[in-house]
Amino acid sequence: MDKLVSSLNCTLHLRDGQRSFELDVDFHLAAGELLALSGPSGSGKTSVLRILAGLESRAKGRLVFQGQVWQDHAQQIFLPPQQRSIGVVFQDYALFPNMNVRQNLHFALLKHESTALIDELLDVMDLKDLARAFPRELSGGQQQRVALARALVRRPKLLLLDEPLSALDTQMREHLQQYIQELHERYALTTLLISHHPEEIQRLAQRVLVMEKGKIIGEVIPAEERKKGFLLRAIWMGTVDGMAQVQLGDNILRTVNHTFVNHTGVAHILSAYFFTIAKIVCVFVAVSVAVLMF
């Protein structure tokens, strides 16, 4: 397989509260690509990220990253996270409370490795003045920047971001989107971003995979939509006829696998509601008539 392409093809039994379902995904990731995963919560996005990171050994299938097999259930190959070229930013940042900012980054270095990269990352992420601060003394946005910087100390090829900006306010989000973009380009990363925010995806992602109940049910290329004059407004608005819907522009809904297009979406939903209401009214009238007659 092409050394520049990575692929994940796997299944995993998941449990979400009372219900359980099968995660079943198959997708490719080009080198240098910034791919977004979107979809309702509980659709299996974080599990995909955990499989890529080596934190989920139960998955059955095969994961090849740029020519290197990371996981192959049939051949009983499983590289632990320590042996994968990854950087992960968790939703709760997971900074080490007992270490200050610089120590958090330093922890990721190998013994006797130069600290030049740490200085560079602190500089790039505007963290120089906070190097001696402890995580509890930092704001959400600052913690996020530390988590991003720390994830890059090992010089990973694959950066995994699990809803990294969801806990931040709008202004801080925009600010951090810039950092993510800059890091992605500067360190030639391949990045997987889990996000719910259309504007974030619009700005950062080259491709979006939409997931629901453990399956990838569609794909959107934000740049193509932009060329047509559409902006993403919402990524997932529920499913109609088993297909996830994306809102482009103000009223234009579209199923993401492009089987039926644009304005009919709204009418489709409205007509479905109308039909249901009409059915209820008919049943009600029929029952009333029956009761009155007897």
């Binding site: 990171a53 080596g54 996270p81 900074l95 409370p97 007992n98 100390v153």
Partner: protein
Amino acid sequence: MDFINTLLLTLRLAAITTIILLVLGIPIAYRLAYSRSAWKPILEALVSLPLVLPPTVIGFYLLLAFSPNSGLGQWLQETFDLRLVFTFGGLVLGSVIYSFPFMVQPLQSGFEHLPAHLAEASYTLGKSSWTTLWRVLLPNIRLALLSGLVLSFAHTVGEFGVVLMIGGNIPGVTRVASIAIYDEVEALNFGEANRYALTLVLLTFVFLALFFRYNRRSQPWISW
């Protein structure tokens, strides 16, 4: 001299027991905290058993198990020349079993209250489970560690039933302060009993006061 010897023996027993419990307790508490096994409740019940069982029950079974008349006792004696009944070694073993939950439970609770992704973040930064435990997990549960140490030590100093059953009352060998008090009272030496008792009260008080002072001064990194 007997007074000093007995107190030193008590402190030596408590210190050795606490060190052994620390070494055993960390891996067991770690396993219990992160285990998803169906056996977990059974293991937890086993660990907690000494909390609710009368100490004499534990002492009684240990006495039966290790007496030279039993298979195990005989085997230990013949193979390792090890005798656990009425010896200091037996006291240590009994104390370790008796104080086990006082070390494991605070540690387990400490591990369970750590943010979920700390260990995983460390793995993704290329660190082994050993480095993760040493440099990330343990430093962040240091208050739980301290609680475990203080409770195990204090509990061992105060134990009576287990020690009496398995150790007896041999001055300089197995006679600890709590047994000495009982012994002196039985012989109507109230003055001597009071000396032991008062020393224990003072020692324990100073010990706990130091613990709370440290506890208050050290800013908890993670509050729970």
